[in-house]
Structure formats: structure tokens, C-alpha cells
Symmetry: C2
Subunit: 218 residues, 2 copies
């Protein structure tokens, strides 16, 4: 079930430099305990060799938990790690190239912020969309920060495409619910989990928040 | 013949930011006219999408000239472009991973600066070595500049391994000859060609210099 993006309610994007001095494998281990649905190895700023070394540990942890591992940007690293797929942005290799190199069964995600980019990514073979930054973001450098696109954009994109939409950017437990209320499949976070005092319970809380509406009335 | 690194006497490493405002395809076209043996798409600082776009043009030019194209660092980009191989450094994905992902027939080069790194790369399946920086380099940021390892190191590495050794780093037409005299198969340059007023004639001059010893006496 975890391997179908249609079931991804909570999505962790790793970033050791935003983990308060803790290593990424430790954060991933705790997030898996907390019930995270999918993990993306991001680690911007690490060179490829270091990402490969960290990724090998993360791959073991996610495989053990039967949770999919997605690799940011690098299709070669995804293949080298035996990851489930790759996530590309607008300045990475195109979705069509990723799809071509990884094959039909791989998961290929794409970062978009507009309806047009969403339709392009879907046409090119994307399995799901990472849409944002929903609320702006604090995980990028000050210069790269922008205002959020808002949940209305999530709604517009959900209306336009047939693939799962994951909101990302500035999402916390407090503001996660409106993303799924707007039709988003789930939410992706970095610091909400990586910087939490207790990444396991932060994940658990987020899972409960996002999953809230699914619970049948008692 | 060009597709065997044992025949690479002159090796162009592209870097648009060191090309005096000219685009990389223009430099490559001129270097091919001048008789370059192999081209490496480097373009540090460009994002993957831009490297892919530039690379597609360069791939056409090199294929037309029947000159091999090697891609720096990214194995996925090498595959996407249908390049002949990849060149990895000590902080890129390991040689063994590149060999595994690209297969036995691909060319896999590796940047090394010591005998130990050279032996490791050869054992891991490297097709050739880029050894340097021979004379230090001006193509890296000031902070990254180091003294050169010198041609004695070239000699030591040539003695230690059975794969072709290409010298790189600070090489000009004036100091290229000692690299091949030390047993190097050839020399790799960036700015000697990319920053030349006339990249075609700069290439031609370098080809003549490096090829000098091979000419049979008349």
C-alpha cells in the first residue's frame, strides 16, 4: 500500500543540515517509528559520495519498514541505492528522462507550483506531484524564500490532474489539515520532523492530523 | 580509435563560465575542428536541466565528428545523452557504481591525485585516470587552488597502473610536453582551449605539441 503515492499522507524529506546536529538515519528511524508513509533522500549541499553513503543506511531502514524511498534529483543515485523512485524539480533532469531511465514501474515525482507545470509533469509521466511552497518555506536560504502559493492553488491543481498531489513548503501540524481539505493526498515536511525534539512523536502527531478526516465516526 | 582512451592525447573539459562569454557548443565545435580527441561535458555550476540542454547540442557535435563524449559526475546525464561514458571524482559516486550502472562497454574515468587513489580506481573498474592537478589550476575558485602534484607523480602513477593516464590542471601548450614525456597518454585542458581567442588553433597547437614525439623521423 505504501508503494502507491495515492496512499501517501505523510512524506518526510531529509535534510541533515536541518536536523539539529543529528544524523539523517536517526531522523528516518524515528519517523518510521512514528508511521511516516514515504521518505525522500534530499540532503542538498552534500556531495554525491556522501549522499550515497547516507542513502545506503536510509535504504536499509526504509526497506526494513517496507516504506518507499525516493531520491531527490539524481536518477543515478536512485538506481545505485535501489530506491523506489526519484523526485525531480523544474531545474533537474526532465520527468520524461527520469521515466525513460527508470522504467514504467518506478515512482517519478515532480515539484511544481502552477497548474501548467502540473499538467506538463503529468503528461511527461509523473507518478505524483509535490506542490508548493504552500505556505512559503523556512528550509531554503533567505534569498530563495517566497510567499506561499496557498491551498487554493492545491485545489486548482487537484482539479486539473489525475495524479496524487502532495503539499510541501512551510507545513506544520497546525496548518497541514487545510492541504488535505483542499484535496491534497498528503503533506511533505522537512523541519517539522527533522528539527523536532522528538521526531517520532512529531510524525505521529502529523499522521493523526492528516488522517483525521478518514476516521469513521464512532 | 578515438573511443579507446589509450589514444587520447588531447582532452577538452568544457566550462562555459570559463569561455569568455561564448557558449560551450561553439567552443566544442572549434575544438573538434582543431582535432581534439575527446570532450568532457563538465559545466560545474549549471543545474542539471541546463547541462542536459547544452549536452544535447554537444552530443550531436561530437557524434558527427566521431569523437567520444564523457559526462562529468552524473551517470544519469551520461545515459540521458547517450554519452560514451562518465568521469567521476573522489566525492562523486564511486567508480564501481558507475561501472555497474553503465555496463562493461562504457568508458569510466576517475580523477585521482595519488598512487593509492589510482590503484583503487583501476581495481574498481576505471577505464582511464585523470591525474592532477599537475601544475595547480586556475579553473577552480581561489580557495580550492592547490600546488600542482608535478610530473614525477604522473610517472609514479603510470608505473603503478595499466590504464591510460591523462594529466590535468594548469596545463598549457608550454608545459604539456613534460606530461607525455613522463608517460602520460595525453593532457586535459579547460581554459587553454575554452578561453583561447581562437579555440580551433589553440587545439591544433596543443595536438601538435603533445603528438610531437610520436612522429617518425623523416
Amino acid at each position: 500500500m505504501h508503494h502507491d503515492p495515492a496512499n501517501w499522507q505523510t512524506y518526510l524529506v531529509t535534510q541533515e543540515s536541518a536536523s539539529n546536529g543529528r544524523r539523517t538515519p536517526e531522523i528516518v528511524e524515528r519517523a518510521l517509528e512514528g508511521g511516516i508513509d514515504v521518505v525522500q533522500l534530499r540532503e542538498k549541499g552534500l556531495d554525491a559520495r556522501d549522499r550515497y553513503e547516507v542513502g545506503r543506511v536510509v535504504r536499509e531502514l526504509t526497506a526494513e519498514a517496507d516504506v518507499p524511498l525516493i531520491v531527490n534529483d539524481r536518477i543515478d543515485l536512485a538506481r545505485a541505492l535501489g530506491a523506489d523512485g526519484v523526485h525531480v524539480g523544474q531545474s533537474d533532469l526532465p520527468v520524461a528522462v527520469a521515466r525513460d531511465l527508470l522504467g514504467e514501474s518506478a515512482i517519478v515525482g515532480c515539484s511544481v507550483s502552477t497548474v501548467e507545470e502540473s499538467l506538463d509533469a503529468e503528461r511527461a509521466g509523473a507518478s505524483y506531484l509535490g506542490v508548493g511552497a504552500v505556505y512559503g518555506t523556512t528550509s531554503k536560504s533567505v534569498a530563495a524564500r517566497k510567499d506561499g502559493i496557498g491551498t487554493e492553488r492545491i485545489e486548482a491543481i487537484v482539479d486539473a490532474v489525475d495524479i496524487p498531489v502532495i503539499g510541501i513548503g512551510g507545513i506544520t501540524d497546525e496548518n497541514a489539515r487545510p492541504v488535505v481539505d483542499a484535496g491534497g493526498t498528503g503533506v511533505a515536511v522537512i523541519s517539522e520532523i527533522t528539527a523536532a525534539d522528538d521526531p517520532a512523536s512529531a510524525t505521529e502527531t502529523l499522521v493523526e492530523t492528516v488522517d483525521g478526516q478518514e476516521k469513521p465516526p464512532e
